[in-house]
Amino acid sequence: MSRVRTTSHTGCRNSALSRLSDVIAYRELLVNLTRTELKVRYKNSVLGFLWSLLNPILYLVVFSLVFQEILRTQIPRFAIFLLSGLLVWNFFSASLAGGARSIISNSTIVQKVWFPREVLPLASVGAAMVHFLLQALVLAGALVVFRHEPNWAALVLLPLALLALTLLAAAAAISLAVLNVHFRDTQHLLELVLLAWFWLTPIVYNHQLVAERLGDGHWIAMLNPITTVVLVFQEALHNPPSGYIPDFSLWVHLRNVSLLALTALALLAFSLKLFGRLEGKLAERI
């Protein structure tokens, strides 16, 4: 039952705010779809949610082997360094990959029932968030086991960094979901882009190396929004001696993350607008 107040179909129900308020009215659906996505993924599997931890563990083993044993990276506590960045990356990439497919894989309900469709990609972001929290628990456990002390002051920045990341992921997921209906190769293209993007983000290597190589142009590396978030996570959780990640003061981190959050907010408004534009023919094109 959709609660619709006098609406005109051809008129534009397009303002980002009104779309957002529709989504908020359907927040229970968002929760339910997120739960469904998780439940369905792990139903009938013996390990269940442990699967979501297997991916970072495998990355950890492989990258530790390659970077520590073969390439002899100098980063101390490489495992924690890697997990700090991987946590961010996994959340972001899972949101985008799931979001891109979200409308097509729910085509039956999209064709039959009206509800704010933005809820579908947002549910993918929600599911990715649940995995993020699980993996964060594991990382927290690792910190305790290795008696590794985080940077307590920088920890304060994590909620803001996570907020910025979530807004960014939501904006991207919403745009990709609707684009993928119109251009089916979006999801394949996305796989390639994500692969490149992963290596362009300082997750397995030291950002300092890139900054030094770029010299005066080191700000170019900061154009990658994920880098900003990853650096905050590394600063807070890995808390390395100086020289491994840029020696940003907390204020610089705060400025970067705040700028990113504002940009992400603008992108979210844009993505809702884009979604509204392209949504009209969704049910027919699926």
Binding site: M1, S2, R3, V4, R5, T6, T7, S8, H9, T10, G11, A25, Y26, E28, L29, N32, L33, T36, K39, V40, K43, T108, I109, V110, Q111, K112, V113, W114, F115, H182, F183, R184, D185, T186, L189, G280, K281, A283, E284, R285
Partner: protein, 395 residues
């Protein structure tokens, strides 16, 4: 201007589809065929206008491809019209496809909450009617099983029960009442009827003229995307049949020419007004016009009422009923007056026959000369309405 809840206003609504010879949906294909993808424009519905007031039951009648389902989807907002305006007020539930939001891997219980939230309900409101939904769907034993193990009937029953569990201001129904066994169908109809009593606006899509006539207050007949008739059910049903089949509801299909009696017209009426839908208590007059080219001096006219399955319900003839008709020369009209059909809701057929007094010689017969339906408020199930009382006392 604010509309009253349950109002739907449709103004010059048009929905065109592009029929592509092939659908190019990847970036590469789009780029290759940049702006040169051949397609035909096709109007599924064209310039549809109507207003539905709160509490009205509107039927959209049409055969396949008439655009009735497209129109319903526009109202349900699952597809966007190409041009025109649509305004509606109030909560809406759509029975477009039962159980559309169900996920096979989830249990019936989980699905009720999931599909309910797709329809915009909160967990609390669904929880409040959950037991009712399960009871209505008759799935108490299976509600915690995954729905992939359900039969299609169980699936649809749960979908129906969920859709009608919250009383909407507007209910859209797309040919889906043929769900489950007969008892469940009866229950579904009763539910629809109770909605009607409580003033829920309903739009009902069907290609079954009799069903539409028996349920709706008003009908719009659609043909190839355009409204071809609009008005009271009986009027529209007649126009619709005439237009689509070149046939009126009371038209007789004469058997191959025979020496004897021709049935030139058959009609049923209540108090002099022609009708084909009755309630169980109506006094119904069945009038049969006869013509013959040769005088017949020993004539009996017989009728037989059958239900949709062909079971004989009642039969009699003009001699048994002392009509006084014994011979026919030229034309005559025979009227059978039923003081109440005492039938329950359904569609019924009337066969007619003319034969000699001893029954040895047939002068002609027509099967299904007339079709009528009964729509009453009855809560009974079966074919026949029997006046019944119930009392109880403890001893």
């Amino acid at each position: 201007m604010a509309l009253a809840p349950g109002t739907i206003e449709v103004e010059r609504l048009t929905k065109s589809f592009r029929l592509y010879a092939e659908q190019y949906s990847t970036l590469k294909e789009r780029a290759l065929h940049l702006g040169r993808i051949p397609y035909q424009e096709f109007d599924a519905i064209r310039d549809i206008d109507f207003t539905v007031n709160p509490g009205t039951v509107l039927g959209l009648l049409g055969n396949n491809g008439s655009g009735k389902s497209t129109l319903l989807k526009c109202i349900a907002r699952t597809i966007e019209p190409t041009s025109g305006h649509l305004r509606r007020e109030g909560s809406l539930a759509a029975l477009l496809e039962l159980g559309a939001g169900f996920h096979p891997e989830l249990t019936g219980r989980e699905n009720v909450f999931l599909a309910g939230s797709i329809m915009g309900h909160t967990r609390r409101t669904i929880g409040a009617v959950f037991d009712e939904i399960v009871a209505f769907a008759e799935l108490e034993e299976f509600i915690d099983n995954q729905v992939k193990h359900y039969s299609s009937g169980m699936y649809a029953r749960l979908g129906f029960a969920l859709a009608v569990s919250m009383e909407p201001d507007i209910l859209l129904i797309d040919e889906i009442l043929a769900v489950g066994d007969e008892a469940f169908q009866q229950k579904s109809f009763d539910k629809i009827r109770s909605f009607r009593k409580r003033g829920v606006t309903m739009i009902f899509v069907t290609h079954d003229t009799d069903l539409a006539v028996s349920i709706c207050d008003e009908i719009i007949a659609l043909d190839r995307g355009q409204a071809i008739a609009r008005g009271t059910p009986e009027e529209v049903a007649r126009t619709y049949r005439k237009q689509l089949f070149g046939q009126t509801p009371t038209e007789v299909k004469p058997d191959p020419v025979q020496e004897g009696v021709r049935f030139t017209d058959v009609a049923s009426s209540i108090q002099g007004r022609q009708a084909t839908t009755f309630s169980p208590d109506d006094e119904v007059v069945l009038s049969v016009c006869l013509a013959t080219d040769h005088p017949i001096d020993d004539l009996v006219i017989a009728y037989a009422i059958r239900d949709a399955a062909g079971t004989l319900i009642n039969s009699s003839n003009s001699r048994l009923l002392d009509s006084g008709l014994t011979a026919l020369d030229g034309t005559a009209t025979v009227e059978f007056t039923f003081e109440g059909l005492r039938l329950l809701n359904g569609t019924y057929n009337v066969d007619l026959g003319a034969h000699s007094g001893d029954g040895r010689q047939s002068y002609g017969q027509v099967s299904s000369a007339l079709r009528f339906s009964v729509a009453g408020p009855s809560d009974e199930a079966g074919i026949v309405s029997i006046p019944v009382r119930c009392s109880a006392r403890s001893n």
